[in-house]
């Protein structure tokens, strides 16, 4: 009898939700932004997305084959990384940019640190910053050949003091990276993740609110609703707040820590936008990632009944 029976420890039932299911939900949630980007910028951007995603999967597979590790490409996390990276690329970037970015994201940022869950920096963002530094001209070229969606991004125009149309930005009728332009598409996906309980509003909410306050205080336009809305809708802020700041692996695990992290990202992004030049989301989140161990250390939760009093 004994060898027939499984005598592992309690609990003897497990929830049906697995890592893979969570990753696939994130992929589905990124679809509105992806589809919208492809629809706007044309079929070439679809090829760029596909190449980047496939490169990410292949890199992980090759790494695991070379180092004789368990094959983990089935868990969907490489797809998420590839997709997020692709959504952060200019629509007409050459395909090799996607390949280099994906290899860097998976090989250097993720696998060298031990694979899923061990990396301290969001792989897609790490790769984007690497590309921005290495190939600045390509990464900031938003010419697409389609007139409405070409040329200077709303963020660049904002920084230059030009007028922008917030409605167009919310709908996504502007230039920008493949996945960042439409606030609506991003928010639809984010709502799905929130409804499924995969992410919650702690980080994105704190991020957006503290960013808005920062812009109000230091943006030079006071608490001007239209200007703040434009700043919020501009650049990668929405995509970053909902899909990258919420990355499980690289955000603090404690509840209070998450609130703090959101505020930190808001302030950093605001500072990059106001005092730096242009986009600050990627750098802000990466700096935030680096602060996570510290944040977790100062926000250890209080155990149930800790310091309880006897009567």
């Amino acid at each position: 009898m004994s060898d027939l029976m499984n005598v592992s420890s309690n609990p003897h039932i497990r929830s049906k939700v697995t890592t893979g299911m969570i990753m696939y939900c994130v992929i589905i949630a990124l679809m509105p932004a992806t589809v919208f980007g492809v629809y706007n910028f044309g079929i070439y951007s679809l090829a760029l997305v596909a190449v980047t995603v496939v490169s990410a999967i292949v890199t992980e597979l090759v790494f695991e084959l070379i180092f004789k590790k368990k094959i983990t490409i089935g868990d969907g996390s490489a797809v998420v990384t590839g997709l997020l990276l692709a959504l952060n690329l200019p629509p007409k970037a050459p395909l090799w940019i996607g390949i280099i970015g994906a290899v860097f994201a998976i090989f250097v940022v993720k696998m060298l640190f031990g694979g899923l869950g061990q990396n301290f920096m969001n792989p897609a963002l790490g790769a984007r910053c690497f590309l921005l530094i290495s190939f600045p001209a390509i990464m900031t070229n938003f010419e697409t050949g389609i007139e409405a969606y070409s040329g200077a991004t709303p963020l660049a125009r904002l920084n230059a003091g030009e007028a922008v149309n917030v409605l167009d930005m919310v709908l996504g009728r502007t230039s920008g990276t493949i996945g960042e332009t439409s606030v609506i598409a991003i928010v639809i996906g984010a709502c799905l993740l929130i409804l499924l309980g995969i992410i919650d509003l702690k980080i994105p909410g704190m991020y957006i609110v503290s960013f808005a306050i920062f812009i109000g205080l230091f943006g030079g336009h006071g608490f001007n609703g239209y200007y703040i809305a434009a700043e919020l809708a501009a650049g990668g802020l929405m995509l970053g707040a909902f899909f990258m700041a919420t990355d499980y692996v690289t955000r603090p695990i404690t509840l209070k820590g998450q609130l703090l992290y959101g505020v930190l990202l808001g302030i950093l992004t605001g500072a990059f936008r106001v005092f730096g030049s242009g986009e600050g989301v990627s750098y802000a989140i990466i700096i935030g990632n680096l602060c996570v161990p510290l944040i977790e250390k100062i926000t250890v939760p209080k155990a149930f009944g800790e310091g309880g009093e006897r009567i």
Binding site: H12, L255, G308, R310
Partner: protein, 439 residues
């Protein structure tokens, strides 16, 4: 309805519908019954019968081995055929008395009493003599629990009627069929604590029970019924105290430190039987269930019957189970062997097939934070597991590892299927053992 609850917790598939509507069935034991001398927390009982001796049902066969201990009674009449180590549910070998059933059920004379006439000391003495222990799983001798240092500071006696473990329905059936005994038992406990009120704490997935208990207690000024939110582990002692009184105690405190005494349904009924009828603890309700059991059912078993007998009485297996568990699926023990006896703390026998047992392999932690969210101990299971695996017991204690109640919520929810509860449990065991050694 106002909801009483705690922070954290999970909502697993509850599986109660399998056996919820099956009335309690009395079953008679087969030829051999086994009584482990250690089926409670504290010193093992000491055998007071010899091999070859004939015993009656209700006769004490082992006396308490100290103050924190409890006597054991024969649940059948027959002959003692052995006193030897026998395997029990945890897999350990424990010294046990073996009795051959003569199927006559000749009983000793009991000595009933009117609880209202008894003094507090007499009530406690009768509970102690009756061998009553916490029947929810821990098996702590009840007379010890009911003798706190300052009885006058106890202001709540909480009847744990939550039965929050999935699949279990024994307490539910008891409350549907014999709620009077529960209420009478609670009244007996209240006799011990002059300043206390009684709370019947029931999860709100049992509205019929709540109605019934409310009706039964409408003239009892000292007893109230509280509906708790249905959530696991609502019936865990510390969570239950918090849900009903908003008092939070930590792992090194006793309920009495917060002015509370908690007992579960079966224990309170056993108290009633011992005090009122003078009948010692010899029987209990056990749920036999799971997707592999042909006829899921609730049995009134004679303590000492083997699990194999119970499964046979329930019609055997429908399909071959992958795992057989004594107790609930969240905190029960997986059985090595079916030839182990039921004891005072056996609440259920659960036979689960492969897909319910979830054989999934552990993968890397993705830091999703779900384990923190559900942990009723409000600790960080993911970090505790890392420390436990590394063997850093100091760090483990510092991060509140000892506040874990081993409820299993973290392992249940983890999408990476990591063995959180298991590793935290092992580390706690080592810490406790070290503490004992240091003393």
């Amino acid at each position: 309805m106002s909801k009483f609850t705690f922070t954290g917790g999970i909502h697993p598939f509850d599986g109660k519908s399998l056996s919820k509507d099956k009335p309690i069935v009395d079953i008679l034991p087969k030829d051999e019954l086994v009584y482990p001398l250690s089926q409670h927390i504290g010193a093992p009982a000491k055998a007071v019968v010899a091999v070859g001796e004939t015993v009656k049902r209700g006769q004490m066969i082992a006396e308490a081995g100290g103050f924190v201990s409890a006597p054991i009674y024969a649940s059948v009449s027959g002959t003692v055929t052995g006193i030897a180590p026998h395997r029990i549910v945890t897999g350990d070998m424990v010294e046990s008395i073996i009795i051959k059933n003569d199927h006559e059920y000749i009983e000793v004379e009991y000595d009933p009493a009117d609880p209202d006439e008894l003094s507090k000391e007499e009530i406690i003495a009768r509970i102690q003599k009756g061998g009553v222990v916490g029947m929810g799983g821990a098996g702590f001798p009840t007379h010890v629990k009911l003798s706190p240092k300052k009885p006058e500071t106890i202001d709540y006696v909480i009847a744990n009627c939550a039965e929050c473990e999935p699949y279990l329905t024994s307490d539910y059936r008891r409350m549907v069929e014999e709620p009077e005994k529960l209420v009478e038992g609670l009244k007996i406990i209240l006799r011990l604590f002059d300043n206390a009120r009684g709370i019947l704490a029931v999860e709100d997935n049992k509205p019929d029970v709540i109605d019934k208990l409310k009706k039964l207690t409408k003239d009892e000024s000292r007893i109230l019924v509280k509906a708790l939110k249905t959530k696991y582990p609502q019936g865990s002692e510390r969570q239950l105290i918090y849900a009903t009184t908003k008092r939070a105690i930590n792992s090194s405190m006793l309920p009495a430190d917060a002015g509370c005494v908690v007992d579960n349904v079966d224990t309170i009924v056993a108290i009633y039987n011992a005090v009122k009828n003078g009948i010692p603890l010899m029987e209990r309700i056990v749920t036999i269930t799971g997707d592999c059991i042909k006829n899921p059912v609730n049995f009134r078993v004679h303590i000492g019957q083997s699990y194999r007998e119970l499964i046979e009485e329930a019609g055997g297996f429908r399909t071959q189970p992958a795992k057989i568990v004594s107790g609930g699926p969240m905190m029960g023990f997986a059985l090595f062997d079916l030839d182990v006896p039921t004891t005072k703390t056996a609440s259920a026998c659960l036979c689960l097939s492969e897909d319910e047992v979830s054989e999934a392999k552990s993968t890397n932690c993705i830091n999703c934070g779900k384990c923190l969210e559900v942990c009723p101990g409000r600790v960080m299971p993911r970090k505790l597991m890392d420390l436990a695996v590394k063997g850093d017991l100091e760090g483990f204690e510092k991060l509140g590892g000892m506040e874990c109640c081993e409820c299993g919520c973290c392992s249940y929810i983890c999408p990476a299927k990591r063995q959180l509860t298991q590793s935290i449990k092992s580390a706690r065991k080592i810490v406790l053992a070290n503490r004992r050694k240091a003393k």
